[in-house]
Symmetry: C2
Subunit: 629 residues, 2 copies
């Protein structure tokens, strides 16, 4: 295969790889320069391709959906913390656009093989895997891999291809079984939100193995190095650096628990009895084995953990991240760290999102508490808060779709719809995506992002560091006023970051950001426009609005930018957030105002879309009667 | 197996692993606290164990020799550039002590398995490999691995053990065939000097596979982090950082060529015609694919290179290092970088030292030039300077011990002895170890180190950065006066660094050094003595003197601290060093004076040994009549 190359060959490889699983056809296309300049890479490029190629109304788990693996212009280069990879597709959990991102080194390897983007379309008639060895791209039988755990599949592939250096993105058994929050796993890093693994499973694609040896050219290598050097030096001065580069995200657990926004028992409370001394970093320290890191990242926030004592002693795990310390901790009323690590292992091995999985279990426990689910319904499990055996047993049922697990594997939204009996009151999701470890009542811009995010309740699409860490400047967290503008800015900035694809952590801590991007991007690519802060901000807003147009085309609107009623009407029973509710309607108005969107529909206007170079989206929405004026 | 643990369990694992290949017996011993305090780790600990356990007069390639793999107290920790590993044994090239070190990640993994030191003794009756999986240590048949190239053997082991994460130290076919400068390979990093791979081959030990999951405890983790952070920040301010972290050691090629100390045609001259534009960094850039790094090192000086054009297009190589750009460049009169990369690949695949290999070929070429070797002697090769085909062909003969290669595989010293006819005049070695890429006439303290180094002509045992880079302060390079003291200090400091085992590069550039070590070591180990600069300097001197005592016991002395006569009587034909010779005798006197050694024998006195806590060595040397008073 001779790859067709676009004209952008600094930072970018200039080539899109397209594989049709139905026909087995492989082709390459030049990466259009215009597209890269307007959408940068990763999330932006993925959104544009998805918008253009996936028409409204299709079933996300049908062959009509596409799975887009995207790199960014800094992936695989010496730039630090910028080699994550991203999957963009239509989510089987939300029915809207999803972008899910992972660290590891699969993306850098894919780029080394010569590709900025891999578009997987169609559906194989039996399990297959893709083997991308530079120019050689083949689809092969994966009969023997089907059913293997994620790490087993990666090992088996390395053995079959007789090369231990190949990088593998694979699904586990949960992806094969179309668990709606199944993940794609790259060693122990996962692209896990929104069911990207289920889309891969629905295409009968077990894994993608890649090995590349192409060189990534840079426009001004010395400049990239210089900026990187400064970036590292500055971040290391940060008081957060030490803790973060050791234990990673769980280091923030104490802070968030103190703020009362670490949700407890399916978001009923904000204080977990027994938290101290059990889920605090000193306890993590006991299981800590060593630091690990993604491709070209000096932060090494990853930790290899292993539980020393039974019943959870055994296999090594990477993680848990903060979110998992919550989803299998506070959310399910558990304070045993060993159990959290074991649950993390099961999620990684079978390939599911730890946030949705733990949230679904907490949801089931509350339904059990309220009598909506009985012991008989849940296969005899005693689903009371903190019952470790029951939690692990239920998780295993979910990842294998056994008994009640088959229902919960549909996610909280669909499960509630099927159960009826008022269960939806306890389903803690937005747009179908389960809410992560933050109580929106205790951080309003943060909560507003959870409500309005295009992909559903993702903390990573507009994290309000101002409210939680005082970075870059503090914002009072309980105040609803002015949070629309703050939320919009956070979301647009994150859209730039995600299009690069830079890691969320240094971005949130202020170690990476637009001031660095505007130096790194032109130095890597030679595209002078990228040195203009306004240009980049507009690009971020463009990406955000195009995703919104994708969703609008699918019928999304203001009704979907909605937190569960619990947050709007109840206040937590204890802790610092007691007495606070979420001022939903008022904040939505404020947000749409800041976005320049129509307050009634919650969708972009022609004026806004045209100002961002998205006339094509305005025209299409108008044609189907979904454009607000 | 339950590992016996010593009391030092911070920084150290507290355990020595001993494997007897003759009997297959495996045992563990506590690491004696006293030993760790006096010898630190790596080179120091290895020297003490070798001194105690390997009695004088044994054949290095017999079962009586021992192969000691040693880690240091910072190996595998978050300290940066400190996770190299080291092999200490009796050298089949010199008959004296050798320490050879490699990067990669084998050492960190061995430590994670729980071991500070691995002592391999005896000899298996057929090819075996060791498989160290935490506590499980077994010796297994390596019949199928025998004959495989180093990377093939590592792949086959990962496949056989069904775990792509195992780390492997292996020999290639050259080690099996007892090429006297055979290396041990850890992926593409090698412990290559002095024939450590031949010792491994003589024991029928093809490889060691290791996988560990133990935690390394630190006495004060926050302090280690803080010091590391500063170390990184300071190094990144260095003007050398940018180039070094990109292309690594070949970046210094231009400087050394300008200084006229990049030896040409087996050290006949100092200027290579066609050097510019062919062996300069711009040319390396063409083959550069990506940066790589050793375990826990932010510098990523390693480069993956691949030649784009035939006849050397093909397999990826890590490197070449500066030394290889010389040994297959200037030394053999070649200016084709592609050929250097191909030679590097052959050396790594078959497992030999690139310095000795290139030096042996340059030696053969000069013998051919002088008529001492004829075309018939060398199997019909036209051994003229720069004849690429002949160089590659001869290298292949050496690594497979075919024809003339069987003779050259013995190293320059033994080859010259066997050939006679005055060939020894052209054998560029000290103590049997081939001289690396520095003309001693153009940097006197540097040359003095090459002459006096305990392991033979190693630049890394006392690199005179003062003369070559002006670090930490400039020293006039042609002046012989005062260089004894400078050389001693450089050697003692390097002995500390090698006992840690810190990487030589940041050490030479001043990014790591005693000021950092005295903070890192107590923070990691809790041993307060390590915070005392004087204590550390004495420790370095102790290690240096103990190695010397080992050699003295084998019959080494002043006669062996000798550069080839070429440097003492001839001056280079061109370049900046023209007109300079090496003032051997005067400088040796000055050096022994600085060392407090006997000028006649070149060996330590009782006074010196006792002052360093080495009375046992003084007593033994006296008993066998080898102690100077």
């Amino acid at each position: 295969m001779i790859a067709e190359k676009g004209t952008l060959n600094k930072g970018y490889m200039g080539t899109i790889l397209r594989v049709d699983l139905t026909t087995g056809k492989v082709k390459t296309e030049p990466l259009p320069e215009e597209l890269a300049k307007l959408y940068l890479g990763g999330r932006g490029l993925g959104a544009k391709i998805l918008y253009d190629e996936v028409k409204p109304g299709i079933d996300p788990l049908s062959s009509a959906n596409k799975l887009i693996f995207a790199n960014g212009p800094l992936t695989g280069t010496l730039a630090q913390s910028c080699s994550r990879w991203m999957v963009i597709t239509k989510s089987p959990l939300t029915g809207g656009i999803i972008r899910s991102t992972a660290g590891g080194s699969f993306g850098a390897e894919l780029k080394s093989a010569g590709f900025d983007v891999l578009i997987v379309e169609g559906k194989a008639d039996k399990p297959v895997y893709l083997w991308i060895n530079d120019d050689q791209v083949v689809m092969r039988d994966a009969g023997k891999l089907w059913g293997l755990l994620s790490d087993e599949a990666a090992s088996a592939l390395r053995k079959e291809l007789n090369d231990e250096k190949i990088k593998v993105a694979t699904i586990g058994p949960a992806g094969e079984k179309l668990v709606r929050f199944a993940a794609i796993v790259d060693d122990r890093r996962t692209a896990s939100r929104g069911g990207v693994g289920a889309v891969m499973g629905s295409k009968n694609l077990k894994a993608i193995a890649v090995r590349g040896s192409r060189k990534i050219e840079l426009a001004d290598r010395a400049k990239v190095q210089e900026v990187t050097r400064n970036q590292i030096a500055i971040s290391q001065q940060s008081p957060l650096f030490q803790g973060f580069s050791h234990l990673g995200s769980p280091g923030v657990t104490v802070l968030l628990h103190e703020l009362g926004i670490y949700p407890v028992r399916n978001f009923q409370g904000g204080i977990l009895e027994g938290f101290h001394g059990n889920l605090t970093p000193d306890k993590l320290e006991e299981a800590f084995i060593k630091d690990v890191h993604c491709h070209n990242c000096y932060i090494h926030c990853g930790s290899i953990m292993r539980v020393a004592r039974s019943p959870y002693a055994g296999k090594e795990v990477e993680g848990p991240e903060f979110e998992t310390v919550w989803s299998f901790g506070g959310e399910v009323g558990n304070t045993n760290l060993g159990m959290i690590i074991e649950a993390n292992r099961i999620c990684d091995d079978y390939g599911v999102d730890t946030i949705s999985a733990g949230n679904c279990i907490g949801f089931a426990m509350e339904l059990y508490e309220k009598g909506i689910l009985t012991k008989k319904d849940v296969g005899g499990l005693e689903l009371i808060w903190g019952n470790q055996e029951a939690i692990i047993a239920l998780l295993k049922k979910i990842v294998t779709r056994e008994g009640i697990g088959d229902l919960l594997a549909e996610g909280t939204k669909r499960t509630a719809q099927k159960i009826g009996k008022g269960a939806d009151k306890y389903a803690m999701h937005v747009k179908g995506l389960e809410i992560p470890a933050y109580d929106p009542r205790g951080a309003k811009a943060h909560g507003l992002n959870l409500a309005t995010s295009n992909i559903g309740a993702s903390h990573m699409t507009g994290y309000a560091t101002q409210e939680l860490f005082g970075i870059p400047e503090p914002a009072e967290r309980f105040t609803p006023e002015g949070k629309g503008k703050l939320c919009k800015r956070n979301q647009d900035l994150m859209a730039i970051s995600d299009s690069i694809i830079a890691c969320g952590f240094p971005f949130l801590f202020g170690w990476l950001g637009i001031a660095t991007y505007k130096q790194l991007l032109p130095a890597a690519t030679g595209v002078e426009e990228f040195s203009d802060e306004e240009y980049l901000l507009k690009l971020g807003e463009r990406v955000y609005n195009l995703e919104r147009a994708f969703n609008a085309r699918e019928g999304f609107g203001r009704k979907d930018d909605m937190l569960p009623s619990r947050f709007l009407t109840e206040s937590p029973k204890s802790g610092p957030v007691k007495g606070h509710i979420f001022e939903m309607d008022m904040m939505l108005d404020d947000y749409y105002e800041a976005r320049g969107w129509d307050k009634e529909t919650g969708n972009p206007t022609r004026t806004k879309l045209e100002s961002l170079g998205l006339k094509f989206a305005a025209d299409e929405l108008e044609k189907i009667g979904k454009l607000s004026e």
